[in-house]
Amino acid sequence: MSLICLTNIARRYVMGAETIHALRDVSVSIERGEYVAIMGPSGSGKSTLMNLLGCLDTPTEGTYELNGENVSDMDDNQLADIRNREIGFVFQTFNLLPRANALRNVELPLIYSGMRLDERRERAREALQQVGLGDRVTHKPNELSGGQRQRVAIARALVTRPSIILADEPTGNLDSRTGEEIMQLFARLSEAGNTILLVTHEESIAAHARRVVRLLDGRVAADEAKGGDRSPEA
């Protein structure tokens, strides 16, 4: 059974008299341990797809099974639970709490899962070590470089040991060298067994992934595997 199974997903936005088809009839499955890049021109529906995968949004049509659970028609609180347990988000703009230090930022999702303080701290420290920031635990976001901030954000995504890490343009706000470092970190995390899905519109970034799903106008235009060791479903 696939980790993620999208079947005939559609997402429409109604804006007055106009209906925007952000996604039409998208069916994709993703296996545990895959490293997938989602590509496509601006407005093709990449972020919309990510929001659905991240359970931040629900589809207008179709079903979404995550880990065998149908999440397409869960309510707000159930979705919050799923997000907390199953999903690690990495955003283009980092989205760290400015007044909290790195450790506090990383332990935030664990607070929402109700973990005890000492355990939380331990796990957060571990995650920061994993992204190479073991020595920046007490730094606040404004005392960190862009790359370091994104690492804190990645540590925050890792800390709950989620089923999947979703990254929407994680290098979009970084220079190419720092972006490359972040991509290397993702590569390491992938090798360690994490399932990673990232949105990008740069081929050089997508080249790190072992599978590329191309969107065009809300449809899957191509779904190609690289290296041949994994076979995509078309």
């Binding site: 931040l56 639970d81 997000r83 988000f89 007044r99 909290a100 607070i111 929402y112």
Partner: protein, 410 residues
């Protein structure tokens, strides 16, 4: 998610937010501060008044009646001028009354004047000179310091030059000596001190009961005032019989004053209950005014809190989106912002108490005022409640935010 953990986290976020916007938070709480200061001072004042009353009333005696030409509380100037035409109460009236009534414990005439009292080089000015009989020790419930006594019936009837002095007078004139047996001069006339009154403290916070000298009423009439208007102090001796005693006294007084059956009373029988009545009115007025000001400023303050919380929610839309993305439920967000609103208000409440505290210390000079612990609790509770109520709408808006839209917010 564990609710306690949620509360703790909410409090932490709230304090961080308040610290980040110190000035804004404090300015916002101005209404709360005014409201809480008012409610605290009002509470303190009412409490103080009641306490002052309780202490003073105890001195009046629950079963003591006071007969005088007029009532204690004359409402209008017209009343007052009319009452002035009533004949004075004379010593003869008092003596006759004493013979007429049989069921009361004691009856004593009371007249007052002011004079200087001297002992050798030391003197006390503006001492209240009271003329009465030996019965006053009973009617006034007076305690005498050991080693002394009140003057006797013989001394009283014979108008002997003896006196009983209040404790302030005693310490003034006799800082080191025992006053009993010494001779003091009142208006330059010699009186022998036979006893010292136990300290009674202030009456209604206004004048000292210890700054008085009691002399036999005949001495008073001869040397101070020939035809004063007397007050009659009556000790009933049994609270249960107060009303009965009043009726008896009224009948006896009418007879003494030779009133015809159709005539209105030309005297009044007063008792502590009248003061209690007055005090209740004053307390209620203070409470009403205070509650009005409190309510108004809390309302205005609440609107301010609501406003600033809307601003806070809008400013932190992305943060709310992020928290939701990371697994915060609606309730979690709601609680977080409610706590923030309540915390701002409690900070305001604490500031208010910090203002009210020194004011009560000043008030202490006028009444037994005290910032009581329950009052502090009420003040903080009221602040927190204001925060919770006025923070609800903004918090609700935050809780219902759609995470996708919130995260996209710039």
């Amino acid at each position: 998610m564990n609710f306690l953990l949620e509360l703790g986290e909410g409090l932490r976020i709230a304090l961080e937010a308040i610290r980040a916007n110190k000035l804004r938070s404090i300015l916002t709480t101005l209404g709360i501060i005014i409201g809480v200061v008012t409610v605290t001072l009002m509470g303190t004042a009412i409490d103080g008044l009641n306490r002052a009353f309780m202490q003073s009333i105890a001195k009046l005696g629950v079963d003591t009646l006071y007969i005088s030409r007029t009532g204690w509380f004359v409402e209008t100037y017209e009343d007052w001028t009319r009452l002035r035409t009533r004949p004075q109460i004379t010593l003869r009236d008092v003596m006759q009354l004493e013979k007429e009534v049989h069921t009361v414990l004691a009856v004593a005439p009371i007249v007052r004047s002011m004079a200087g009292v001297k002992y050798r080089e030391r003197s006390s000015q503006n001492v209240s000179i009271v003329g009465s009989t030996d019965q006053m020790v009973l009617t006034g419930g007076l305690g005498i310091e050991t080693g002394g006594r009140f003057f006797t019936a013989e001394e009283s009837d014979g108008g002997r030059p003896v006196c009983v002095i209040g404790s302030d007078v005693a310490t003034n004139l006799f800082p080191r000596l025992n006053p009993v047996g010494k001779q003091v001069k009142i208006n330059l006339r010699p009186y022998e001190v036979v006893g010292v009154l136990e300290s009674q403290g202030m009456f209604m916070g206004a004048f000292s009961l210890d700054n008085q000298v009691i002399i036999p009423v005949r001495q008073f009439l001869t040397h101070f005032w020939h035809d004063p208007d007397f007050e009659i102090q009556v000790k009933v001796g049994d609270v249960a019989r107060l009303e009965e005693a009043k009726d008896e006294l009224r009948g006896a007084m009418r007879k003494v004053r030779r009133l015809e059956p159709g005539d209105a009373d030309d005297f009044a029988i007063n008792q502590q209950e009248q003061i209690a009545e007055r005090l209740r009115v004053v307390s209620a007025t203070i409470a009403a005014v205070g509650l009005f000001i409190t309510g108004l400023s809390l309302f205005v303050g609440g609107i301010g809190i609501m406003n600033i919380m809307f601003v806070s929610v809008t400013e932190r839309t992305r943060e709310i989106g992020l928290r939701k993305a990371l697994g915060a439920k609606r309730r979690t967000i709601l609680v977080q912002f409610l706590i923030e609103a309540a915390a701002i208000c409690v900070v305001g409440g604490l500031l208010a108490l910090a203002i009210a505290w020194p004011v009560t210390l000043v008030l202490k000079h006028f009444m037994p005022a005290q910032l009581s612990l329950p009052l502090v609790g009420i003040a903080l509770l009221v602040s927190a409640l204001t925060g919770l109520i006025s923070g609800f709408l903004p918090a609700w808006r935050a809780a219902r935010m759609n995470p996708v839209d919130a995260l996209r917010n710039e």
